[in-house]
C-alpha cells in the first residue's frame, strides 16, 4: 500500500430510503431512474458506484440531497 493514501469508499443508504418511502421496490426505483434492477442491487451492495447523474436522479426520487443517500467513509 502506498504511504499516505487514504482509502475512501462510497457508501449509501439506498435500502433505508426505499423502505422509508413506502417500501419502494428495487424494480420500481430502477424504472424511475431508467436503469436495470441489477444496477440498483449493485449500488445497494456497494459493488457499483453510480455516476453523478444517476446519484442525483436517485436523490430526486426521494426528494432529498444526494449527500443524504450517498456519503464517503474512510477505511
Amino acid at each position: 500500500m502506498t504511504k499516505g493514501v487514504i482509502l475512501i469508499n462510497l457508501k449509501n443508504k439506498l435500502k433505508q430510503f426505499r423502505f422509508m418511502n413506502g417500501e419502494l421496490t428495487q424494480q420500481e426505483l430502477a424504472e424511475k431512474v431508467s436503469v436495470s434492477r441489477q444496477t440498483i442491487i449493485a449500488i445497494e451492495k456497494g459493488k457499483f458506484n453510480p455516476s453523478m447523474r444517476l446519484a442525483l436522479l436517485i436523490a430526486r426520487v426521494f426528494k432529498v440531497n444526494v449527500e443524504e443517500i450517498f456519503y464517503l467513509e474512510e477505511k
Binding site: 436503469v35 436495470s36 444496477t39 457499483f48 453510480p50
Partner: protein, 135 residues
C-alpha cells in the same frame, strides 16, 4: 454469475474443441467422411450448453444489445468484457496465423472462419460469466 453458468460455458467451449478436433482429424488424415457423423455428439452438447450458458442467462441478448439501451453499469460490464475478449481473440488469431505460417499445408477453410466467428460472438458473454458479474 452462478457457478452452473461457468460450467455451461466450459462445457460449451470443450464441445467446440471436440467438434474441431474431429473435423480436422478427418480432414488432415483423409479419413472416410462417415466419421464426420461423430460431430453430432459434441454439436448436440454444444447446442444444449449454449442454451444454458448464453440463452437462458440472457447474456446472448445482453452482449448484442444496442449501446443506447444499456445503463451506465451495463455499459461498464460490456466495455470490460469486450476489451478482455478482444485481447483473447487477437491472441488466438495471431497464434493461428503463426501455426499456419509454420506448417506447409495451410488448413484455413470455412470451418476456421465459422469457429473464429463463434468465439468472437460468445467471448464477451463468457468473460462476464467468469467475472462473476450479474447483468
Amino acid at each position: 454469475m452462478k457457478k452452473k453458468n461457468i460450467t455451461a460455458v466450459v462445457i460449451n467451449y470443450i464441445s467446440l474443441i471436440f467438434v474441431l478436433i474431429i473435423f480436422y482429424v478427418v480432414k488432415l488424415l483423409d479419413c472416410s467422411k462417415f466419421y464426420l457423423f461423430l460431430e453430432i455428439i459434441p454439436l448436440v452438447v454444444m447446442r444444449i450448453s449454449f442454451n444454458f450458458a448464453y440463452h437462458k442467462s440472457g447474456l446472448w441478448k445482453f452482449i448484442h444489445k444496442s449501446q443506447k439501451t444499456l445503463d451506465e453499469r451495463e455499459s461498464q460490464i460490456l466495455y470490460r468484457s469486450i476489451r478482455m475478449s478482444y485481447n483473447i481473440f487477437v491472441s488466438l488469431c495471431l497464434m493461428l496465423i503463426l501455426i499456419f505460417a509454420v506448417i506447409e499445408k495451410s488448413p484455413i477453410d470455412v470451418v476456421t472462419v465459422i469457429w473464429l466467428g463463434y468465439i468472437s460472438h460468445t467471448l464477451p458473454a463468457a468473460v462476464i460469466v467468469f467475472g462473476g458479474e450479474e447483468i
